[in-house]
Structures are given as C-alpha cells and as structure tokens.
C-alpha cells in the first residue's frame, strides 16, 4: 500500500531543516563552546596495563606544579559516590568513573588531574606516578566465557554477565522434520560510531543554591537521574541543560562516568569543571566501543531453501564493565527472524566481560550484527542448495497480506510490503543489466559481485528487552513528551525535553505542530528547557523520535486545537460539534461568516476571562506525555513480549569489483529501497539513510578497535581507525516506498538506522559473490583490504 502524501500540508514536504542555519555560520552551541568564569580543566591518567593492581599513587610532584589544583583517585571518588547504574543484576561488577584498586583495561582512567588549563593538567598527569602490579588478563570473548579464564571481576565469580537461552516455538521438532540443516559461524568485529565531536561535559556546583548545572554532549535516557544517584543528590539538585548541540552520537554519547567525575570534582573543589575527551581518551578510555559478537548459527530448511527454524548463539564481548551494553543482545529479539517467516527460534544470548574497553550503545543497539548474521544465513542456504540468493529471500519473506505478523519471540510487526520495495529496487538498478555488468567486469579479469541484503529497522524504542534479560526490572513505561504554549501575542512555542545530535527534532516538532494547527511551521518556535523544567524524555534512542516526539507533539497540538475550538464555539454561542477549525480560526459550519480569528481566540484565552467557557483554565498551555505504542506489558514466562512497535524495511543492492592483485573492493553502484512509512521530512530521512550506509561501509571494510596480544588497543588515532572519507562513500540511489504504520499519528516509522543495518551485510554479500568462484568466502566484518588481498592471493595460488 502506498499512502498518498497529498493530504498533508507540511508533513512529507521538502522543507528546509531549521537547525541548519545556526550550524552553517558556526553558531552551534556545543559542549566545548560553553564558557563559565573560573572553569578548571581535567586530564586523565590511564592504566598502561590490561589488568593490574594499583599498589600506590604518588601525586606529590603533580600537586607541586603551580596551577594544579587536585589529583583525584578512584578510592576517594568511590568513598563519596555510588556505582554507576548497571542494566543487569550484577552487583559484583561495579562500574565507577575511576578504577578502584584494580585497573581492568589498558586506557582505563586511574586518576583525574585538575589544573588551570588542559595543557597544564596534561603536564601534571605525567608527573603522577602509579605503582602497578600486573595481573593475568583475557581479551577474547570465547576464552573469557570458558571456565578457568582469568576473571575480570574476581568477586563476580566468572566473566559471564548474561547467559540465557530462549526457545520460541517447536525448534527441535522443526529441525527434526526439515530435510536440510546447516551450521556456520559469523563474526562482527569491534567498532563504533566514533563521532567527530568527542564527549564533553561542563559541570558546576553551586553550594549556596545547592544545585548542579551540567552541560554535556549527551544522548542518554535517564541521564540526570543517574548523575543524581551516583552523587547521592536529590533529582531536583541536578539541572542538565538540553540546549546543547551534540556533535554526533549515533548511540554512544552516554558519558555518564565523565559527568559524574566532573560533577564530583566541581562539588569537591568549588569551581566549574570541564572534561573534554581528547581523541585518544575518546577511543580508548571513553567507554564507547560497539558490539564485538561471535555468532554460531544453525538453520533447518527444505529443498526450496525455505527456512523453518533457526538456532542462534550470540556471544558478545562487552569489555571490562557491564553498563547498559549487554542489552544490545536483547533488542534484536524484537526482529530475531528479520523480514523472514522463520517459525521457531532458539536464541542463546551471552555477554562476557574481558580486559578491553567497555562497550556502549551503538547505532541500532545490537541489531546490526544480528541482521548481518540473519542475512548470512539466507546466503549460506542459497549457496548450499545451489539456489539464487534473491529467490531464496523472496521465498522466505513475510508477504504483504500477512501483516500484522507475529514472530516467534512475541513481537508483532506492524506493516510492510517487502516484495514491493524489492521490485522497485530491481527496477531502479535494472537488475538484469546489473548482472550483465558484473559479468562484463569478470570478463575483464576483475573479481565482481552483486550484494544483496534486506533488513528490518525496529523503531519507536521500547525498553522491554531489559525485562527479558533482567527479571528484577519491571519498567514497562517508556515515554516522550512535548509542551506547547501560545502567548498573549499569539506566538506558538513548543518545548522539547531532550538534546539532539543532528536528528532535526526542532524541524520535526515544528512540522508536526504546524500540520495539526494549520500554521506555517517556520512560525513555531521550538525550545529546550533544562531538565528541571522538563517533562519526561527517554532521549533520541532506538529510531524513536519521529514516532514518539512526533506523537507527543501531535497530541499536545490536538489539545490546543480542541481548546481553541471550545473557546470559539462558546463565544459564537454554538455547540462545539458545529464549530469548524481552519488555520487557527474557528467558524460556524452552519454560517461560515460567523467566526473568531486565531488572535481573537488567543485574546479571550489570555485576557477575557468573562468570555471563556465556564470552568476553563485561562492561558493556552498543553502538554502530552506519550507511552510507546504497543508497549506496557510484562514478558511471558517463556520470554515473549512485544518490544518495538514499528518496523521499517530496507533493501540494499550493490555492485562491487575487486582488483584481484590488490584485494581492494570498489563499490560501483549502490541502490537502496527504503520504507519508513510516512516521511515527515524528506531531507532528514535521506540524510539518515545515506549516513547510515557510510557508517555501514566503515564497519564492513575499514573500522576496527583491534587489540594486540599484550592487551593494548592498537587503533589509537584516526590514522589507525579509518573513517570513510568522501572518496570511500559512493553515490547511492534511494528508492522510496511508503507503507504507513497503523500505530503512529501520521503512519511514520523510524529511519535513523537503516543504512547501518543493511550495508555491512550487503557489502559482504557482494564480496562473497565476487570471491566464491575462487572457492573462498567471508563471514566476518570488517573485511580489511590486507586480509582480503591475502585470501585472494592464497586462493589463486600466488604468494
């Protein structure tokens, strides 16, 4: 179904993004731009060992340097603060901003030095001497899982944070009754989103007002709440400022340990404290790495390649501390069968600690690796049966008439027409011509392959997966909010209660409120009050803001509209049902010449109490707090629950060539079909899709936080950790399709993750199509140039 967009006035129109005007003139307000008089600066002393006992810290030389104010160690901080909130029930894996007695990864923060300038603080950090006693360490996830491995947290008794097996449906029976089965391994290497702005925070404690002001480049649910808990302050003593622009996040800008550290220092020392990571701190000790996941997948299928059942074991190496990252094994449960009709699933989710940097949420929150594994399953089945990869996908896809579609793990997919999207992509790409082009390239002596990947983007973010993995957690509420006021002059202001990292939330809310009220969105001011003046927000995670913030803004605007209608009807002396609302004005349907203008209605609301309907509150101020659609239920005992409400679909198709002597892949054509329901702003959706693909190209071909056998992170700069430049990202053609969601106000779904969800699988598919004629294949990312070149050379019998 393609919904006509024409019944919208502003939604779906190609309007400019209002945030852009401040950025193009360099007037963004990033964390490092905010200045407070008397601010001192922090540098961090880090552990040189992957595991070591901290025997002693000598601060005297550093403290003797003029301009140095303090050297804080982990013991002092731990004595005064609570551990950071962990997602799982793992009380013996405490996580704190500074290591306490034991350092658990190379680069972990051991002490913080405060000085007048950042440069001076770095000088002083070099004068702090720490006496370490190196300890045994473990880096590999499977080794960490095995009994007898060195334990990262001795008191926890093992490295296993999570090991739960779910069985949804008659898995063993389905395996027994299937003619074919296939088992294989897939690996997703450790990378991350690595925003160009590192994490930064400015914290200032006022001991007379007893309030902590925090300006931070965050993207995190419950941030103010967690800062208050760690510092043992009431929530009303922590004021986080939402009007800070965040220079990219894509999940990782949590910075909770940074914020707690800076806030503690400000309380301890009595002046504002700034902590801006440098790039090394960001990549090594900033606790912002992404999933590092090993999959063991087994599928049962018939002669035609139709998969009936799947067993998946996913082991994630989450690094030294727990945090929230193990939940990245939980969100994929919401789309554990991808877009396919797999009837039964066994899923074992394992999270282990190791002596590597701590993981944090990364774009799609664990779904991208899992989607990669599912897409590899489809391709392995096709290869095993000698079938066409596209045809096998078609045979397994959920069909348009099957929606709403309940998957084995308890989530119902809302809507979709996957075949229609694929048809559009094939037409755009001229699939027959694309295959001919691949064959022509092969004829020229190149390796060439076509890559195919489908992916589902769960959107609307619910946290129900937390309940599946931590039975002590009963939180089923997951909200977003908006408040709209109209002042006495008739100006409309919408309040949103979160920071943004480039997602265009001000544009989103302006558009939605304008659509409901029939007012030009550019006339609607959108502001971000601080958290003490805000309603609940869970921040822009899980592709949720079009759905949740858009939904909250819609309902708040509807309440405002209803009040204007009530005032107008009362003033016109007609029943409300007879009143008609258009562009802010209210008229009598039976006699349209009888009307009240928007300004008259606003004046009555603010100034003419005698003309208000009896019992009506003066003023025009309306709030809405929205609960996630389809949410609010606890899981069943066998682990089934609706997780996210909406499911976008994307289909990636590309052509790649590889010079066999160099092993360097070149993307020659890239077409993506995209269905995120009703598009609210086409420029934003296109940008998100393109950016996600670029991020996926990085994860597939270039980016890895690799460690050497001594436990040192070897990617310590942008010369080792390679981000795609404009040279590495090809032109991408986007084909849109619109299948509205029945659960959202305009039929919108999420769109922030699709490129990243599909690109790694699509690129791997293309590389395998290119190299399978040599008898080789890859099932792991990143596929680095040197590795691919060596594989090809070995297969061709050349050194």
């Amino acid at each position: 179904m393609s919904a006509p967009a024409s019944h919208f006035r502003f939604v779906s129109s190609d309007r400019r993004v209002r945030e852009d005007r401040r950025f193009v003139v360099g007037k963004g307000r990033f964390a490092a731009d905010i200045v407070m008089p008397g601010t001192r600066h922090v540098s961090l002393l880090t552990s040189p060992y992957p595991a070591a006992r901290i025997v002693g810290i000598d601060k005297s030389a550093a403290l003797a340097l003029p301009g140095v104010h303090y050297v804080l160690d982990g013991r002092e901080l731990a004595a005064a603060t609570a551990p950071l909130v962990a997602g799982l029930d793992t009380p013996n894996v405490p996580r704190r901003p500074l290591a306490v007695d034991v350092a658990r990864y190379a680069g972990e923060w051991v002490a913080a030095v405060v000085a007048d300038t950042r440069a001076l603080a770095e000088d002083a950090a070099e004068l702090v001497t720490v006496d370490y006693e190196p300890l045994p360490f473990v880096l590999d996830g499977e080794e960490a899982y095995a009994p007898g491995s060195p334990r990262v947290h001795e008191a926890h008794g093992s490295n296993v944070l999570l090991d739960r097996t779910f069985v949804w449906g008659e898995v063993e029976k389905d395996f027994a009754e299937s003619r074919h089965r296939l088992a294989f391994k897939v690996r997703w290497g450790r990378s991350s989103t690595v925003p160009i702005e590192t994490f930064g925070v400015l914290a200032s404690w006022d001991p007379w007002r007893e309030i902590l002001d925090v300006f931070a480049s965050i993207q995190m649910p419950r941030f103010p709440d967690q800062v208050a808990l760690a510092l043992k302050l009431p929530g009303s003593a922590v004021r986080v400022h939402n009007d800070v622009d965040v220079g990219g996040s894509y999940g990782v800008k949590r910075g909770i340990k940074h914020a707690v550290l800076a806030s503690f220092l400000s309380r301890r020392l009595g002046f504002p404290i700034r902590l801006m990571e440098d790039r090394l701190e960001n990549m090594r000790g900033g606790d912002a790495h992404g999933p590092e996941r090993n999959f063991d997948v087994e599928v049962a299928f018939d002669d035609a390649g139709v998969i009936r059942a799947m067993k998946m074991r996913a082991l994630d190496n989450v690094g030294a501390y727990a945090g929230r990252s193990p939940f990245q094994l939980g969100k994929p449960i919401s789309a554990i069968v991808g877009p396919y009709r797999i009837q039964s699933v066994q899923y074992q989710a394992i999270a282990v600690t190791s002596n590597k940097t701590t993981q944090e949420a990364v774009r799609a929150f664990g779904q991208s690796p899992t989607n990669f594994a599912i897409e590899r399953a489809i391709e392995e089945v096709a290869w095993h049966r000698g079938l066409d990869r596209l045809e096998v996908r078609r045979r397994n896809l959920i069909k348009a008439e099957q929606f709403p579609y309940l998957i084995p793990s308890g989530t119902t997919y809302d809507s979709g027409d996957y075949d229609a999207v694929i048809d559009k992509v094939l037409a755009q790409a001229d699939y027959t011509g694309l295959k001919a082009e691949r064959d022509r390239l092969r004829g020229e002596g190149l390796l060439a392959g076509i890559g195919i990947a489908a992916c589902l983007e769960p959107s609307g973010a619910n946290s129900t997966f937390e309940l599946l993995l931590n039975p002590k957690n009963e939180t089923t509420t997951y909200t977003e909010s908006c408040r709209i006021t109209v002042d006495v002059s008739g100006a409309v202001t919408a309040n949103i209660h979160t920071v943004s990292a480039g997602q265009g939330h001000e544009t989103l809310v302006g558009t939605v409120v304008g659509e409901v009220l029939g007012i030009d969105p550019d006339r609607i001011r959108v502001v971000r009050p601080d958290t003490l003046s805000s309603l609940p927000s869970q921040s822009p995670v899980g592709s949720r803001m079009a759905i949740m913030l858009g939904g909250a803004a819609f309902h708040a605007a509807q309440k405002l509209k209803a009040r204007l209608v009530a005032i107008g009807a009362h003033d016109l002396g007609i029943p409300e049902e007879r009143a008609s609302y258009e562009n802010g004005n209210v008229s009598d349907r039976a006699a349209p010449q009888n009307k009240r203008s928007f300004m008259e209605l606003v004046t009555i609301a603010h100034r003419y109490f005698h003309r208000l309907p009896p019992g009506t509150e003066p003023n025009l101020a309306f709030s809405h707090v929205i609960q996630v659609p389809m949410g609010g239920k606890l899981p069943t005992p066998d682990g089934r629950v609706q997780i996210y409400p909406c499911f976008s679909f994307e289909f990636h198709l590309l052509l790649i060539s590889i010079d066999p002597d160099l092993g360097k892949p070149e993307i020659r054509r890239y077409v993506i079909g995209h269905d995120c329901g009703t598009v609210i702003n086409p420029k934003i959706v296109r940008g998100m899709t393109m950016g996600g693909i670029a991020h996926g190209i990085g994860a597939a071909l270039f980016e890895e936080f690799a460690y050497n056998p001594e436990g040192q992170l070897v990617a310590q700069s942008f010369m080792d950790y390679l981000l795609p430049s404009a040279h590495e990202v090809p032109e991408v053609e986007i084909v849109h399709h619109v299948t509205p969601s029945p659960h959202t106000v305009f039929g919108q779904k999420g769109s922030g993750e699709s490129g990243y969800l599909g690109a790694p699988a699509a690129i791997t598919s293309a590389i395998n199509d290119a190299i399978r004629p040599l008898g080789i294949a890859v099932n792991s990312v990143p596929i680095k140039l040197a590795q691919l070149g060596d594989m090809i050379a070995a297969a061709r019998g050349k050194p």
């Binding site: 993004v17 950025f23 193009v24 360099g26 702005e197 296109r686 040279h727 991408v732």
Partner: protein, 173 residues
C-alpha cells in the same frame, strides 16, 4: 614564556599574548571566542578545525598560533555577509541539508569556499577531492557534494544577463 602575535582574522587585527605551544585552534576558540572551528582529532586527520590561511584550507590544530602571524586567517565567522545572512555556499548547505549534527559543517563550508574561489565549475570528482580531508560521520557526504555543486551553479549565475549561458543559469537551481 608567552609571545605576542598579531593575528589577522576575518579582516580584523588582534594582538594576543599566547604560549608558544598554543595551537591556532585553541587560540581562535579560547582567546578570540571564535567557536566555529572545532576540535575533532587534534592530529590533523578529521579536518573539523579547518580555517583558511591566505585562502587555502589548513588544519588549525596542527599550526601554532605564533606561526599564523602575518597571514590572512578566515574562519566560518568571516563568511556570513551580515547578521542573519548567509553566503551562497552556506545557503546551499541549508537547501540540500548538507549536514546533520553540524560539527564538521563550518570546516566543510570553508573547504568548499576555497574550492569555488579557484574553480567555479567543479566536477563531482573535484568536489569529492576538495572535501576528502574533512570527515563527516553523519551524512555519507551526498548532500554535502550536492550543496557545493548547487552553490557553484548559483554563483556562476550571479549577474549574468538572462539567456547568456543557459547551462549556468542560477534559475536552474
């Protein structure tokens, strides 16, 4: 020991005393309060700190403030024609939404200005080359490349008599 330097920034002269080790980036941000240049990697790869030195894009994180004495420095704050106004390149970035978080944007725009100053009709490959030293993590570059092409097209069309060169008409934008 602090050194005194005269920095010519956006056409105005600023006398500042700085430590010799202070980067031009830190000096612009902390001493002159020009916050449009951003720190990304501070080792010369990401390009977020780009400013124009005598019209050429340079990494202000890799240059000491004391080295910049005597050069004409242009920062993003120097491009806007007036309060509330945008240069053609800045406006084109808004038209195509050639950004998301906005952190790399000032540097991208300065790189684009430098390109278009010497090449009014760049090819796609030339645009890609010109911004290849500036990493954007948000956009995948497509709408940035489009913005620069659009700006070039519009700037070529400025002050041309109607019908003078159909292919370079601003109206086509």
């Amino acid at each position: 020991m602090p050194m005194r330097v005269e920095l010519n920034v956006n056409g105005a002269s600023h006398a500042v005393e700085v430590e010799p080790r202070m980067s031009l980036l830190d000096c612009l941000r902390e001493r002159l309060f020009l916050n449009g240049a951003h720190a990304g990697c501070e080792h010369g790869v990401c390009g977020a700190c780009t400013v124009l030195i005598d019209g050429a894009p340079m990494r202000s994180c890799l240059m000491f403030a004391v080295q910049a004495d005597g050069y004409a420095i242009t920062t993003i704050e120097g491009l806007s024609p007036g309060p509330g106004e945008l240069s053609p390149v800045q406006d084109a970035f808004c038209e195509t939404h050639g950004m998301q978080c906005g952190y790399c944007t000032p540097a991208m725009i300065l790189a684009a200005h430098a390109l278009l100053a010497g090449n009014p009709a760049p090819t796609r490959a030339e645009i890609v080359e010109a911004i290849s030293g500036n990493i954007c993590r948000c956009t995948g570059y497509a709408q940035i490349v489009e913005a620069i092409a659009l700006a070039a097209e519009r700037m070529r069309g400025v002050n041309r008599p109607e019908g003078a060169d159909a292919s370079a008409q601003a109206g086509q934008a």
